[in-house]
Symmetry: D2
Subunit: 201 residues, 4 copies
């Protein structure tokens, strides 16, 4: 049985989704997947980034460490975990811009049956987490992807806030996660790989 090739693609301004992506990467390795962890290219100009010290710090700490996501990563992957913050109830512009570039792969039918699952964060408990994941999945239907949302398939989902669309967390003013969601992330990755394994062998 071949290993699932899993890309963890994230966007993070101050580190929350990077942390979730790292948990996902670790969980995927433990499941025996071939894993790539890549970050969505930043679109904001440096003067905007510098106005937010936490953003600047995280940007500088990762920009030469984590490879930028490319469309080739999507082509390579059997399964993809996306981890992206909510911006006004939808994915950030950076993430949408990245996804829009998949038009060529889409046209060639190469996105069909990609197994995809997404995670998110927001500042408020009900700050658009559900909406962001659902809006993201709308795009997945266009791709012909198979969505491996967690549903309520494990106690870890309930323990992480019970979001059936994907693991979500809220973050306080200092950037600290308010809930314990690592278990939810790990379960979501395992479920994604389980579903993906049905499509590759």
């Amino acid at each position: 049985m071949a290993n699932v090739k899993l890309a963890v693609i994230y966007y993070s301004s101050t580190g929350t989704n990077y942390q979730m992506a790292q948990w996902a990467e670790d969980a995927a390795k433990q499941e025996g997947a071939d894993v790539k962890l890549v970050r969505v290219p930043e679109l904001a100009p440096m003067e905007a980034i510098e106005q937010n010290p936490a953003w600047k710090e995280h940007y500088l700490a990762t920009k030469d460490v984590v490879p930028e996501a490319t469309i080739d990563d999507l082509d390579w992957a059997d399964a993809v975990i996306f981890s992206v913050p909510t911006r006004f109830g939808n994915v950030p512009g950076q993430v949408k811009q990245f996804m829009d570039q998949a038009g060529g792969l889409w046209f060639q039918g190469k996105l069909v049956n990609k197994v995809v699952s997404a995670m998110t964060s927001a500042q408020n408990v009900h700050g658009g987490q559900e909406a962001t994941l659902l809006n993201f999945y709308t795009t997945m239907f266009h791709w012909g992807a198979i969505i491996a949302a967690p549903g309520y398939t494990d106690d870890a989902v309930f323990a992480s806030g019970g979001n059936p669309y994907g693991t979500s967390v809220s973050v306080d003013g200092e950037g600290n996660m308010k809930e314990e969601v690592e278990g939810g992330v790990r379960h979501q990755v395992k479920r994604t790989i389980d579903v993906a394994s049905k499509f590759i062998n």
Copy 2:
């Protein structure tokens, strides 16, 4: 200046949304609105209700006390506050069945510019609260209604979980609300009346 005529229309199996509806009724009266509090008719057979003691208790306690909602209540109202639980990320069948009966009013254009706002509850923190409100508002677009979602228009929104689509609460296994949302309900009602007042005078 005429008073806003406001209908509070709720569905509740075990009492959470009845409580929220009562807060809404009280807040609306304090704002000087003419208020009706009505409950969406129950569709479940008595044998289903009886299998859940809390449901049975609430059903018996309200069925002869709170009038059933009718389509005439929608026709009468300038503004409507809906309070309904989430069922699998969407409104309960009872609520959708009630709303579907507004086809006649819709055909006559009588739902246009009704000012509407909705509240919800679920068992998990991210148990479909956002999704239920957004799915509900989709129907409001068909009606030509004006949606008075709270957005982030008051500190009470942040204090109640920060749901910009409408006040939402989660409920534990014993039916107790896990968060303090009364302030959010009261603000949402005030905002709804403020918006409605622009359409009636």
Copy 3:
């Protein structure tokens, strides 16, 4: 390799979704699936049905011919095709009421990995077809189901209006379908069975 057990569950007032369901049934049989065609129980009172001659005619023609859908049909099925009209951008009350009754199966985890796909109809070309399917799929995420949306996986999707969420049709005032969608229905069924076959063997 076992046959996929596929339930075609539809609600139809004047026959459009019954026709789509019959195409789905036929396509599923040709693919070698074990198929059940069942209709969602009607909730409207007879006096409401009788006000619409086309509704009355279709109701009387099918009520003793097509079995009513039960929760056991969901339990039995590996895969489910839903065909339901849009009502104000969401599923009809009848359909939501039926789905709400799956709470017991949900609690037992028996809805996980059901492979599901949905079709719809409306009177206007953009009368809520997309919204209804997406709102329906929100519920599927709660179930832990696997959504086999058509995406753009076949030319038949483009020829049927290009709805990646599911086949949809618009209907004129006399109840006639305005577009040719049979090919889209047949492709959607085939794709659903293909996906389901990965989960049962």
Copy 4:
């Protein structure tokens, strides 16, 4: 009575949404509004634009003619008409990136009660038009905006495809609109101004 200040903000790669925006501009002027027509800044690199001759032609024809949209335009406006294509069932990355920059205005509460309405286009009849508008409106709830969706408030809505969320059109391979939607655009603008006038006087 003061004039409504209305911004028409569009993104267009090959001209469809520019045409719709121009109709909106003209309709708004006829209604006596103060109007600005501005385009969302392009994010794609020139080498991507040049691969599509129609995109290149439209880009070069408008880049020095139509001013770029800025956040100040949002601040200035009482009402905003957005016209944006669908990209995989959601707004283009360019549009989301623009909207994300409104965080400062949002924080100051300056987006509250902006009256907003959106239009869209896609290549397929059901190619994400509804989804894109609904996903866009999710963001409007975060802003505390008032959404002036057309609903079914005029015969022009039915004649333009009956999309209650906003006027939408499909475009053939040569970039020609397949439906007549100018009347729908003009009605949507009039409705938006009518609603906005209630909030400024």
